[in-house]
């Protein structure tokens, strides 16, 4: 396996995105570099990131013992703090750490594929129709690849949340190139924070219940949890909140895509943004998947009703607001 740090995979494209955004000439900077240079910078970083990822993924699939996991810790994000949990005082501690095992390698592969498809789409001429969005698209792709890697390989739930938030926020900011996109984009800033609030509450409950935000530790604990504790109470709340959170964040982009007529009127870069935002679903579902599996049938019924209600309400809200906007 490559001896280099896993952190190179997300940091390279993200750093290139920042540099490109800062230096590219948008008509106001007398000494900015041309958009073509910015594109080349980001695309080189993306290719490098792909090149670093492929041997790692291949190695994980060849060597089952690697599934035990590799952990690359960059440093502390939140240092140790005592927090009351359900039964005692747990320790809230979050590190900037990426983990590698079979599951996360598969998620990384999915992230790479989705960004590669977006790259192919972005390289076609229509993406350059709007100068503003054309200039922003490449930094966006670089930044979102970094964030997708963070969501896929993140060691803790808080890192998954950080990556998801970054992706949906950047994608919402990209929804401004067409009239249809502007209509949709105007609603996203309202929906996304509410969804993120539900998601972060789910993470808070997870810590209070299990005393940890480490995905592996939570998975282990949830899998062994006695039914009388799992069936009702915190686990059902976590499941409900996390699903609602996902629906209201990246799911909102899905509703936009679902409306075929509106989707056809979107700018190509906006379609790319929607696709990237939707691809953030997969690692989030994987992060909470075990908790969802723990849910028994008794718990699933109210959760399903709540989720269906939330989706229905969201659809109604969207339809109403978009109709109002189109008048």
């Amino acid at each position: 396996m490559g001896s280099y740090s896993l952190w190179l995979i997300p940091v390279l494209p993200a750093a290139a995105a920042v540099v490109s955004l800062a230096l590219t000439d948008d008509g106001h900077q007398a000494r900015g570099v041309s958009p073509a240079v910015g594109r080349r910078l980001v695309s080189t970083a993306l290719v490098l990131s792909f090149a670093l990822s492929v041997p790692i993924i291949a190695e994980v699939w060849r060597s089952p013992d690697v599934a035990a996991g590799r952990l690359d810790v960059l440093g502390a994000w939140i240092p140790k703090l005592p927090v009351a949990t359900r039964d005692a005082t747990g320790i809230l501690e979050v590190s900037w750490a990426l983990r590698l095992d079979r599951k996360s390698a598969a998620l990384l592969l999915a992230a790479l594929v989705s960004v590669a498809l977006a790259l192919v789409r972005a390289s076609r001429p229509p993406a350059r129709e709007s100068r503003l969005l054309g200039v922003s698209l490449w930094p966006y792709l670089g930044a979102t690849l970094g964030l997708l890697v963070l969501v896929s390989l993140g060691h803790g739930l808080l890192m998954v949340f950080a990556g998801l938030t970054g992706i949906v926020a950047l994608s919402a900011l990209m929804m401004r190139g067409s009239d249809a996109g502007a209509d949709v984009g105007a609603e996203l800033p309202t929906l996304i924070p509410v969804g993120l609030a539900a998601f972060v509450l789910a993470i808070g409950f997870t810590f209070v219940t299990f005393g940890s935000l480490d995905i592996r530790a939570v998975d282990r604990a949830a899998a062994n949890m006695p039914l009388e504790i799992a069936r009702w109470g915190p686990v059902s709340t976590i499941t409900f909140l996390s699903i609602i959170g996902l629906v209201l964040t990246s799911g909102a982009f899905g509703l936009v895509a679902h409306s075929a007529r509106r989707f056809a009127r979107l700018h190509p870069t906006e379609r790319v943004s929607i696709a990237i935002a939707l691809s953030a679903w997969l690692p989030c579902v994987a992060a909470f998947g075990v908790l969802w599996q723990v849910a028994t049938l008794a718990m699933r019924a109210p959760t399903a009703i709540g989720v269906a209600g939330a989706i229905g309400g969201l659809a109604l809200f969207f339809t109403h607001r978009l109709r109002t906007a189109s008048r």
């Binding site: 955004l21 800062a22 106001h28 993120l196 209070v208 219940t209 005393g211």
Partner: protein, 539 residues
């Protein structure tokens, strides 16, 4: 004895006198003001490095008896919380003065008031004597009133002005009641007056005294925080700058929340616990209401003011949780809120005085980062502190945690809307409403102005450990008084298997990754607390 703290206090005082008494050309006076603003920051900055994170008592203490008969002393010192707030204050004053060019310094009395305000706030943060604290508090509110006053006589409507004066008077009078109440309570116990904060933090007042003093303190704090509401802070619709909002919301109202850390929680622990459901509930409700108002407003300035008020309520709620994670998050959020709200006002000034399309994309991207940071997005300043507070509230009340997080989300929605406008300029004129005045002197809009606050926003979001490390001992002192059961910092270092006792009482304990245990791996006694903090000043 080090005189560093006296030097920090002296610099803005001299600045106020120099600018107020200046009789030369206005342009030169502005340069003098800028020089003193930067000097204050330069003098205060070494605190960051000299502060010893492992010492539990107050540091750099200076103590001189002034009127022993009534217990009046010049007694100053710092802990980690005040270190951050002192640096924040001097930084915001420097950035505000430098970024506003001559627009804020139209009148010499106003520019002198900026330094008087800085002087008053620094006294409040450094005071270890309640009378000194009260003096700093009152001076700050008077100076803030002058800083926010209309530049032209016909500019402000009467009602908001009266509200501002009324809230300031109410706040100062309520704090006077607190100070006198604690002084008399000390006399009942020790037979003499004392307003020494270190001494008062170690005494146990009777429950009745604690309750009425606590209510008076709540009133003082609430009146101080209310100054940040848009009806008060945006009262001058003819203003040519946002120096008032920056300093009031970024600096002045922090005195209110700081009073809880310095006075409320450590001196009145029983009352804090008794009123906990009420205070956390009221705070949660305030977060939700201000969040809704932020989202409903279309003008940026009002949205920013309400979103800011929402975060101030979050700080208060975090402190009242009385647990380490909530208090730590709250103390950190005071710093983060100051950075983000100060930046937001500066951005609004810059955009109002120059069309957005004239601002380069790089600078607009920096502005976006600040707005997203204020909205609480991860990897930017507001997130870690908000998350810690939320985690603290969750352990107290699940329902209020949900209400508070929902309110914050609505405030964040308002800011995300602004970020979206900003990222795809030009910004529509109507988002500014009627304020600030279009006659404003052009604010500096280059990246150099925004870079320091943006750098802080990113740093505090990605690597908050140095900030949190400085807060530890100050927070421990407060928590050890109000919630001794949490005074078990040592357990955070353990992370051993569940104790047999815990596993017996609840099956879920088997899944906890970390449970109470001492550094030696043995279960910690339930009554264990922090090593007693003597509170004795380092002489």
């Amino acid at each position: 004895m080090s005189h560093h703290l006296s030097l920090i206090l002296l610099t803005p005082l001299v600045g106020a006198l120099a600018v107020g008494l200046w009789r030369g050309p206005a342009a030169q006076r502005d340069r003098v003001a800028e020089a003193f603003a930067v000097l204050s920051l330069v003098v205060a900055a070494p605190l960051w490095f000299t502060y010893d994170r492992d010492t539990t008592s107050y540091q750099l203490v200076e103590r001189v008896q002034v009127l022993p008969a009534i217990g009046l002393e010049y007694h100053v010192g710092v802990d980690g919380v005040s270190v951050l707030l002192v640096i924040l204050t001097t930084l915001l004053v420097a950035v505000t003065v430098l970024s506003s060019r001559s627009s804020i310094l139209v009148h010499e009395s106003r520019s002198a008031s900026v330094f008087a305000l800085e002087f008053g706030v620094l006294i409040a943060y450094l005071a270890l004597d309640l009378l000194l604290f009260l003096a700093g508090w009152t001076l700050t509110l008077i100076a803030a009133h002058r800083v926010c006053a209309p530049e032209r006589g016909d500019g402000a409507s009467g009602a908001p002005k009266r509200w501002g004066v009324g809230l300031s008077v109410l706040s100062s009078v309520a704090l006077l009641v607190v100070v006198l109440g604690l002084g008399f309570a000390h006399r009942e116990i020790a037979g003499r007056f004392s307003f020494d904060i270190v001494t008062l933090q170690q005494l146990g007042f009777d429950a009745g005294t604690q309750r009425w003093v606590f209510l008076a303190l709540l009133m003082a704090m609430a009146a101080c925080l209310a100054l940040a509401l848009p009806g008060v802070v945006l009262r001058d619709r003819t203003s040519t700058s946002m120096v008032g909002p920056v300093l009031v919301t970024g600096v002045v109202v922090k005195m209110g929340t700081y009073s809880l850390i310095r006075v409320g929680l450590p001196m009145l622990p029983e009352a804090t616990r008794a009123f906990l459901p009420l205070t956390v509930g009221a705070g949660g409700l305030a977060i939700a209401v201000t969040g809704v108002l932020a989202l409903r407003r279309r003008e940026w300035t009002e949205s920013i003011a309400y979103a800011s008020a929402s975060h101030l309520a979050l700080i208060v709620v975090g402190l009242f949780t009385s647990n380490p994670v909530g208090v730590t998050g709250s103390a950190l959020h005071q710093f983060n809120h100051g950075v983000s709200i100060g930046s937001l006002w500066l951005i609004a000034t810059a955009l109002a005085s120059a069309s957005t399309s004239a601002i380069s994309r790089g600078v607009r991207a920096l502005m976006c980062v600040v707005v997203l940071g204020a909205a609480g997005l991860p990897m930017l300043s507001g997130f870690v502190s908000s998350f810690l507070v939320m985690q603290g509230v969750l352990t107290v009340s699940v329902g209020w945690a949900a209400v508070a997080v929902g309110g914050l989300a609505l405030g964040a929605a308002a800011l995300l809307r602004a970020a979206r406008d900003l990222g795809h300029g030009p910004v529509r004129a109507e988002v500014f409403g009627s304020w600030p005045s279009r006659d404003a002197a052009p604010a500096r809009t280059g990246w150099l102005v925004h870079a320091p606050l943006v750098a802080l926003t990113v740093w505090a979001g990605v690597y908050p450990s140095p900030l949190l490390a400085r807060l530890t001992t100050g927070v421990d002192r407060v928590v050890a008084r109000v919630a001794p059961e949490y005074g078990q910092r040592a357990i955070a270092e353990c992370g051993a298997a569940p104790t047999p006792e815990l596993a017996k009482t609840n099956a879920a304990a088997a899944f906890l990754q970390s449970v109470p245990c001492g550094p030696d791996g043995k279960p910690l006694e339930p009554t264990s607390t922090l090593p007693a903090t003597t509170g004795e000043p380092s002489r």
